[in-house]
């Protein structure tokens, strides 16, 4: 085994595993918080666990992690219960109540942390965790590292750092709990009324969720620090929100994104500065939060359905379609008024009011064989005339409909009709059900009969 691999296994692998499991453990309850619009609960809980953690340490006088986890979990649940009680009893705004409770609890934690001199808890660990300092020294011979038999046989797993094992266990437990009660959680979150009538108790479900959040916050808090706990809870959930509409997929995607955020964050924090030529690594938990932010921004821009680009493209598509139809309609009306020579681009722009886009639309229509350039300007081809006839027909039918059925004045119907004429449903142009052959301005409606269409 090469020395580099040995370093990787002993120094980096435990940290990587820890942050990945933390990602999964936090992202699953966090994604549910995002769906339930309670994300700031994660923030409150991750602050409030501090006095429990330090208090258990001070009372027991030892770094017994079981006790510390229990203390921290109690503090987390106490914070949520206290802010809920405050809100209910005093009708205080929810954000204010939780802000008061968690900041006082956090202050208490800081005070405890500082006032006990013999505590070997580092205040920095509270913020940043200690991902970088988790190390593993497997008692094994270098040669046989990747053989399953020796893996299982010689007890190397027992020397795996405790944080990694705890995080792995917590991730599995949380995934299991959410998986088993998924139907109930979704029902209680989306329709509390229906859940109640079906005999579920939405309050019990939300209490259970708070316990899961506290559990995830506590186990991850110790390993990766409070900053990353909030980031791991919210960033994957918010990113997944942009990528899917289904609750089940949302949770699973969040878990995957959480793991990816941890892995990438570790790489960016521990390795990237070295690769860029700095001689010191940056703090891994901060780097992972930044990765989470970058992930969210990428999804915000690039998401296939809800991303800004996709949305912008859809809007541009609609604008192009409308412009194309406006050009066809204008050429049809010009021909109708007897301008046999057609319209030149300048006149078209005057009618439509859009410069370069009109030129592009004309070129595209020409390529599609709907318009052609004659000596005096642009004219419709027979195919184009058929299409334009449909557009103008819809426009005039809408005008007629607006006057006859809605009672608008004839001089007020052109603009709304210009918007309605582009409406499509199922690939077909929508026309109002109205009978008549002439529009309110006494122009012929192309292809109309005395009977109502459809």
């Amino acid at each position: 085994m090469s020395p580099a691999l040995r370093v990787f296994i002993e120094v980096d692998l435990p940290g990587l595993l820890a942050i990945t499991f933390a990602g999964v453990a936090c992202a699953i309850p966090g994604s549910l918080l995002v769906l339930r619009r309670e994300s700031m609960t994660g923030d409150a809980v991750s602050h409030a666990v501090l006095p429990g953690l330090v208090g258990a340490f001070l009372l027991s006088g030892s770094r017994d992690w079981g006790l510390m986890l229990a203390g921290a979990a109690c503090a987390g649940v106490a914070c949520v219960v206290a802010s809920e009680a405050l809100r209910r009893l005093t009708r205080m705004e929810a954000g204010l109540a939780s802000g008061v409770v968690f900041s006082v609890m956090f202050a208490l934690g800081v005070l405890l942390l500082r006032s006990a001199e013999h505590v070997d808890l580092d205040p920095d660990c509270v913020l940043y965790g200690q991902v970088e300092s988790i190390a593993w020294s497997p008692a094994r011979d270098a040669g046989a590292f990747w053989t399953w038999r020796t893996w299982l046989g010689d007890g190397s797993f027992e020397t795996m750092p405790r944080q990694v094992a705890v995080l792995a266990g917590a991730a599995c437990a949380i995934a299991l709990a959410v998986g088993v009660f998924f139907k109930e959680i979704v029902l209680a979150s989306f329709d509390a009324g229906l859940a109640t009538t079906l005999g579920l108790r939405p309050r019990a479900v939300s209490r259970g969720l708070v316990v899961l959040v506290a559990l995830a916050a506590v186990v991850a808090f110790e390993a990766v620090g409070s900053v990353l706990v909030i980031a791991l809870m919210v960033c994957p959930g918010a990113t997944a929100r942009l990528l899917t509409d289904r609750a089940g997929r949302h949770v699973m995607l969040s878990a995957g994104l959480g793991a990816g955020m941890g892995l990438l964050g570790y790489a960016c924090g521990a390795w990237l500065p070295g690769a860029l030529g700095f001689d010191r690594a940056v703090v891994v938990s901060g780097a992972a939060s930044c990765v989470g932010g970058a992930m969210f921004v990428c999804a915000l821009v690039l998401a296939p359905r809800h991303g800004l680009l996709a949305e912008g493209w859809r809007r541009a598509e609609v604008r192009r379609l409308v412009l194309r139809e406006d050009v066809l309609g204008a050429l049809y009306r010009a021909a109708e008024l007897g301008r046999a020579a057609g319209l030149d681009a300048v006149a078209l722009r005057r009618v439509i009011g859009s410069g370069p886009a009109t030129g592009r639309a004309l070129r595209r229509l020409a390529a599609a064989g709907l318009v052609r350039q004659a000596a005096g300007g642009w004219m419709l081809t027979p195919a184009g005339e058929a299409e334009a006839k449909g557009i103008v027909r819809a426009h005039r039918l809408w005008e007629l409909y607006l006057v006859r059925e809605l009672g608008l004045r004839p001089d007020h119907v052109h603009d709304p009709a210009s918007e309605l004429e582009h409406l499509r449903a199922g690939g077909k142009r929508v026309e109002p059900k109205v009978a008549g052959t002439r529009d309110p301005h006494d122009r012929a409606i192309p292809g109309a009969t005395e009977e109502a269409p459809g």
């Binding site: 001070l58 204010l96 800081v110 900053v227 919210v234």
Partner: protein, 453 residues
Amino acid sequence: MTGALANFDLGALARALTLRAGHNTQVVMAGAAMLGLAAGVVGAFAMLRGRALLADVVSHSTLPGVGAAFMVGVAMGGEGRSFVPLLVGACATGLLGALAVQGITRVSRVRDDAAMALVLSVFFGAGTVLLSVIQGLGTGREGGLKTFIYGQTATMLEGDARRLGAIALLACAVVVVLFKEFRLLCFDRALARAQGWPVAMLDGALIGLVVVVLAAGLPAVGVLLVVALLVIPAGAARFWSDRLSVIVPLAGGAGMAGAYAGAGVSSLAPGLPAGAMIVLCLGGVFVLSALGAPARGLGAVWWRGTRARRRIALDHVLRAGSEGAGGSAGPVAAAAIGGACGWSGARTMLVLAWARLRGLARTRAGAVDLTARGRSEAARVMRNHLLWEAYLVRYAEMAPSHVHFAADLIEHVLGAEVVRELERSLEAEEPAGAPAEGAGEADAARHGAGGTA
């Protein structure tokens, strides 16, 4: 808890709180008090505008600004840790964080809670990365930056305290000048918009004040806790009054007192973190207000509820006492009253004791007998009940068989004014007969039937 708190000294605390503990401590305490004043006054509006959580986001978002300003300062050959550039940097990224939250909620389907938590954690994470980069630079001047996270008042100089005073003055001045506008913004934005006020600009001004106050509080209280300066005094003041013109000065005063006391306590021992002490002192003010405030405090709410419950229980005793005797003046068994009201034995005893104390009833050998005053009170309660039944039958057109429970609930709270009103309207409708008596006959008939069944 054996460390710094062990050598706690009340005398020293008293000296500190009365400004007799040396010049440095005085400066620190005065600066903290100014900060608390500014934060309380601004926080009251932030609370009423529903911006408490956004303030949390802003406070976390200031960290990268601090780091960036420090790096720029060092790169330009300066000291790095000077007040004004760091304040400007903190304000810049704090504002950016608030804008990011609004931007995300506007352009995407992500809700504001997720947007806030996301911006908070990402900005704060970026800040910690910057701080660790600064430590890697090894300029030798980065030690002071650590205090921005947990806060430290010991390094506060006279100039810093003066600047905090100026910020407090600025915040108070803006609040006084824009008091009416901010009030409109907090309570009725639609009206503000309809009257032509620049609502977006006012909102921006409020957020700007929040950002400045939070950034100014960073060195003393720290990124993690500075939001408490804004939120807790406002929440505490809310318990004392429903009037904005009372809440705002009260919040300022609470913030000032808490910060002053916290800074004083933390000056007693070098190990005590100032930010945490200030927040805990503010928390103490909050708890006292929550429990003891006469307007909306828990104690007052509990007392009012208890008094109402007791009065209702007495009314039940009177009703049971007079009905159980079948109109005659005979005594009723205490157990029967308890049974009729669904009370436990102990509770029945307690209520009857209270009735005795008020001179409404006598008890003899387990039987309850109403006094003359008790009888007249019972008649009043019965009359209220019957009046309301008659009213419901007459005007709400409810069936006579459906009005009993509604009247049972309302009979305890009908005031004298409402009773007169009821009498007038029922008499005006039917001057010949006595309407309450008519309904009363139906009622008595029903009760009688219930008794014989």
